[in-house]
Amino acid sequence: MKGLFGNHIHLTSKVLDMRLERQNIVTGNIANVDTPDYKARRLEFEDKLQQALNLDARGKMTRTQQNHLPAVFNADGFKGDGLKEFKPRHVYGEDSVDMDKEMAIMSKNGLMYNALASVIKKNFEGLQKVISEGGK
């Protein structure tokens, strides 16, 4: 199947998963906006993903032996880090979630998710085009 769908499709779908998870976490934060002592939760994966992808950038990784193969990035095994903000902000004892921040994260996340979904869609459309045009 690798010939038909490139590796990037797996990667994009993994990032979509991560973004959905982030949406879940942000929704939880917003739902708990009035819960005392609730700590806002975060999902971080971008840096880790960049690092993991860099392993695949041929030549960037230090190899002690030229014969060693560079590790190929596998999207399936990738996971994000669930982080917690350990210092809740207390304003009159009941404001621990920063609503502006959460809404901004949510809209950024939603936009990126939709953009990535469009990217995947375009991938398939391109494939379809190749197949139908190639038959002529």
Binding site: N24, T27, G28, I30, V33, D34, G82, N114, I120, K121
Partner: protein, 145 residues
């Protein structure tokens, strides 16, 4: 990790804010109530929330670590405010005591209004999250169409 989790969490937030709104309207409606079923004037009520995990049995079986951090919100209960009653001299009031004083609940309309605005905004924010999840869901459905 699915869309319905986000909707469930959003719904729990909506429910919690609506409960707050109910209690606030109860406070406002009873601002001059001097007689209650429990006896005595009405006591101001407030709602307390607790974050509750939405870790489904499926996630547990799959040992899904990320979903362990997902929390919705739950209404723990309605608690009575212990602030003292307001004493007003009204000798002709049927509930006046022998000195002519009537006890009214100490409810501040401005305070209740701010709590109400807070609950409304919280509700709206939760609606936005649900809206945004729905958009994402629709976008995902379009993949491959």
């Amino acid at each position: 990790m699915d869309f319905m989790t986000a909707l469930d969490i959003g719904a729990s937030g909506l429910k919690a804010q609506r409960a707050t709104l109910n209690v606030i309207s109860m406070n406002m409606a009873n601002i001059r109530t001097t007689k209650t079923l429990e006896g005595g004037p009405y006591q101001r009520k407030s709602v307390s929330f607790e974050s509750s995990p939405v870790y489904s049995p499926f996630d547990e079986a799959m040992n899904e670590q990320l979903n362990r951090d997902l929390h919705g919100v739950k209404v723990l209960g309605v608690t009575a405010d212990q602030r003292p009653f307001k004493q007003v001299y009204e000798p002709h009031h049927p509930d006046a005591n022998e000195l002519g004083y009537v006890y009214y609940p100490d409810i501040n309309v401005v305070e209740e209004m701010t709590y109400m605005m807070n609950a409304t905004r919280g509700y709206e924010a939760n609606v936005q999250t649900i809206e945004s999840v729905k958009q994402m869901f629709n976008k995902a459905l379009q993949i491959g169409v």
